[in-house]
Symmetry: C2
Subunit: 355 residues, 2 copies
């Protein structure tokens, strides 16, 4: 079933969609819903596509990006598509030698450890993003009134991969460099701020209706360190996207201590994981912001009654905010049953506070 | 150098030590300091011992436990020894088939997934803890006035290993069982509450001067779920140890949202990771509690000036609490340079608020 059929009659243009309206704090007929990592390993149709192509190649071939991005929209009737990509895609596009190794994650050939290697992080040129503009253009045409969410990893999360050379539990090298070599840190973060900005702007300029800045590891820092070493760069990225006329979502995991900072960085919507109830989040950041989240991604493995109760709790608490975009508190886990997500979408769409 | 020599003149009995006094909110001449995982992989003398013996065997042979537990006291002159053990030791002692697999972590032969397997979790008998009583007795004799901290993993953290069958990033099976099978959950948590209580009480009765309940994964839950599914059991453990006359430390990672609960569970001291400054923690839990922590364990990889500034910040903020036990915000990382920890101990011991 084409995506348009699922959303027929809802809205004529993405800017009038429930998702964009909720992100702007405007009333909607239903609470919009999408899932972080909705396009990915939990879908058999995704695994069928990926059986034939490596991860980063898949992210950089417009026809593959388009197909994978549309899969969850077709299946679930979610209120938004999110561009199929990976946090390291802008690095690869800029010419950084990065591979995604199965069972490991991103591996950087030459990690950044000093001023020379920080200076060697290349800028992104517009012509290196032709694949992105092509994929977004194709998607926007296919999606019709359903908004496309563009996304990028925040400078801090990208920096952690570049410095560690790959995934790390403790981010020990990243923090040691951040604290111990401020000149290297600012050089690297400035470069990643430019790269992230270019990558996000390209998506919005090609037609994405919303952008999300993912700072997966932001919650790993104390608020003090976050404010000093990370927030200025994320703020620069989000502010550099302010003129694009698209709502900006800012998300990180375990961010209870820094929620007001995530908001103040230039977000219209703050993504909340499952640790902070949405009404508590609204109290912390102010009710003028919209919120997104926060069902525990492991809740989908519980019986339906549990999922329903948790979803209803999030829906009720989300009403305190200017707007609520229903989502999980982190990405869809690989073993998630797609039928449960489909049922959840229907449930959210039919939920009403007066019921 | 024997442990006694390092602490000569400080105190005659562990109950008068700086650590126990700080834990009770009494004044001390210096801020006491120890490090979670101080006995472990960062020490060459530890690696030398462990080259000859498997992890769980090392934890259950009194002479090995004694040697490894004393190593950091000799090297650093810390204000406490912590019993060398592992979270799964009480399970192994009770007869559960568990191994620690190098590069993986604890692996449970028969994971708990239903009521029968929950009922099959055995109780711990006193005679299964002879090794523990022997190790603690020997240690107390060796340590003289330096207190020994006994420890156990909290029921929730133990349950997660038993249910997942090993380490897990998301605890998806654990939470699904917790939410979806409350009868199995309460059966298992009751069993683990008995087991943990027995294990902690045995250490205190053999002479440990302080006990610490580690709930590594407590911060992975929403406050709502923590209060409903975990807190009652941890409270039962800590309250069952109230008559022993030893201060109780309660620690978990990423617990900003549940700090008052960790305190109310029956703690004298609340362990704080690096995400919440100690004065903020004291505001949340009340200044009548002592606090422990909270230097980021990765800070030790930064230049000394950074470590010193962060340590001084923790020392200053810790003054708001009834007592402050200086520690890292989580365990010592394997690559930590022991000389840095030694310097940190000296620094803390010589720190004074009026300096």
């Amino acid at each position: 079933m084409p995506a348009e059929a699922r959303v027929a009659g809802r809205a004529l243009h993405p800017r009038d969609s429930a998702l964009v309206r909720a992100a702007r704090g405007r009333p909607t007929e239903h609470v919009p819903v999408w899932f972080m990592r909705q396009a990915g390993r939990s879908l058999p149709e995704y695994r069928a596509v990926r059986a034939r192509i490596a991860m980063l190649d898949a992210c950089m071939r417009p026809e593959v990006v388009t197909e994978i991005t549309l899969q969850p929209v077709r299946r679930y009737g979610v209120d938004a598509a999110i561009l199929f990509s990976d946090i390291v895609v802008p690095l690869r596009a800029a010419g950084v030698d990065v591979e995604i190794v199965a069972g490991v994650g991103p591996v950087i050939a030459t990690p950044v450890r000093d001023l020379d290697s920080a200076r060697a992080v290349p800028d992104l040129d517009a012509d290196q993003l032709d694949f992105l503009a092509a994929a977004v253009g194709e998607l926007v045409a296919e999606l019709g009134p359903t908004p496309l969410i563009g996304f990028a990893g925040a400078p801090y999360t990208l920096a952690s991969y570049l410095i560690e050379g790959g995934p790390s539990r403790d981010l020990a090298r990243t923090k040691a460099l951040m604290w111990g070599a401020p000149d290297v840190w600012s050089e690297l973060m400035d470069a990643l701020t430019r790269l992230t900005t270019t990558f996000l702007r390209a998506q919005a300029m090609a037609g994405a209706s919303v952008i999300q800045l993912f700072d997966s590891w932001a919650g790993n820092l104390s608020a003090q360190d976050y404010r000093r070493f990370v927030l200025p760069y994320s703020t620069e990225v989000l502010e550099a996207c302010a003129d694009l006329g698209v709502p900006r979502i800012h998300f990180g995991l375990g961010t209870g201590e820094i929620l007001p900072d995530l908001a103040a960085a230039g977000a219209d919507v703050v993504g909340i994981d499952w640790r902070v109830p949405l009404d508590v989040a609204s109290e912390r950041i102010g009710a003028t912001y919209a919120v997104q989240g926060n069902l525990d991604p492991t809740a989908v493995f519980a019986p339906w009654e549990v999922i329903e109760a948790k979803a209803d709790d999030a829906l009720s608490r989300g009403r305190r905010a200017a707007g609520h975009i229903f989502n999980l508190g982190h990405g869809v886990l690989p073993d998630t049953d797609p039928d449960v997500l489909a049922r959840l979408v229907d449930h959210v769409h039919h939920w009403s506070p007066t019921r």
